[in-house]
């Protein structure tokens, strides 16, 4: 299941995202929390130490490539496997939540 959380800044989306991630993880789900905010604080809200966050890698913007479906609509796909991505870029938080930083990735392929 893929979920995205949006809303005006300050409305509480990061607290809700982090709590939802932890709740799902405590239920035994494998959770990938993706921080797409330019001022990332999802890690702290998940309960990950500042030391771990300071060393967290950013998923590079060139990790995706543009592909076109048979209707000519542009999509993005990963250049490498999920497992490889997780091993290289995810940091693990409480309850086994995987956190990845992908800020700015959506700009890829925009021209």
């Amino acid at each position: 299941m893929k979920l995205a959380v949006s809303g005006k800044g300050g409305a509480g989306k990061t607290t809700i995202s982090a709590t939802l991630a932890r709740v799902f993880a405590q239920q035994g789900r494998e959770v990938f929390a993706i921080d797409g905010d330019p001022n990332p604080n999802l890690g702290v809200a998940l309960g990950i130490s500042r030391e771990a966050l300071a060393n967290a890698p950013m998923v590079p913007k060139d990790i995706v490539r543009d592909v076109y479906d048979d209707k000519g609509v542009q999509h993005m796909e990963l250049k490498e496997s999920l497992e490889s991505l997780r091993e290289r870029y995810a940091i693990e938080g409480p309850d086994g939540v995987h956190l990845m930083f992908v800020t700015g990735l959506d700009h890829a392929g925009q021209g």
């Binding site: 979920l3 949006s6 800044g9 989306k13 709590t19």
Partner: protein, 135 residues
Amino acid sequence: MRGVSSALTGNGNQISLLDMEASIEHLGRATPQGVDALLVVVEPYYRALETASRIAPLARQLEIPRLVTIANKVRDAEDSRVIREFCKAHDLDLVIEIPFDEAVRDADRQGRSLIDVAPNAPTVTAVRTLAGMLA
């Protein structure tokens, strides 16, 4: 981000959860395309509600299967009334109201996770209910 969130769902036990940039333009660039549900968090303030009302049509354009609205920081019956009326008027599916919660501020001040600081806080309890609705 689309590519990442699209790929992070190899089996039914996996959940990917994208905490998006706040700005509306971000959604306009189709970032969450391919997600199963978009959760829009609102507060009982006009500008937060207005943001939600602008996100909704974009989400529908992107054909996101499920669009749900979460009311946050609801202090009293009047807050609740304002949000309910706004959501009704703008055809927003309000699924849960989370009360204003001092524990959130405490956790923020300590730089810790809310669920660690106050596992039974009203916000955590509400999010457990939300998780049940989404799963």
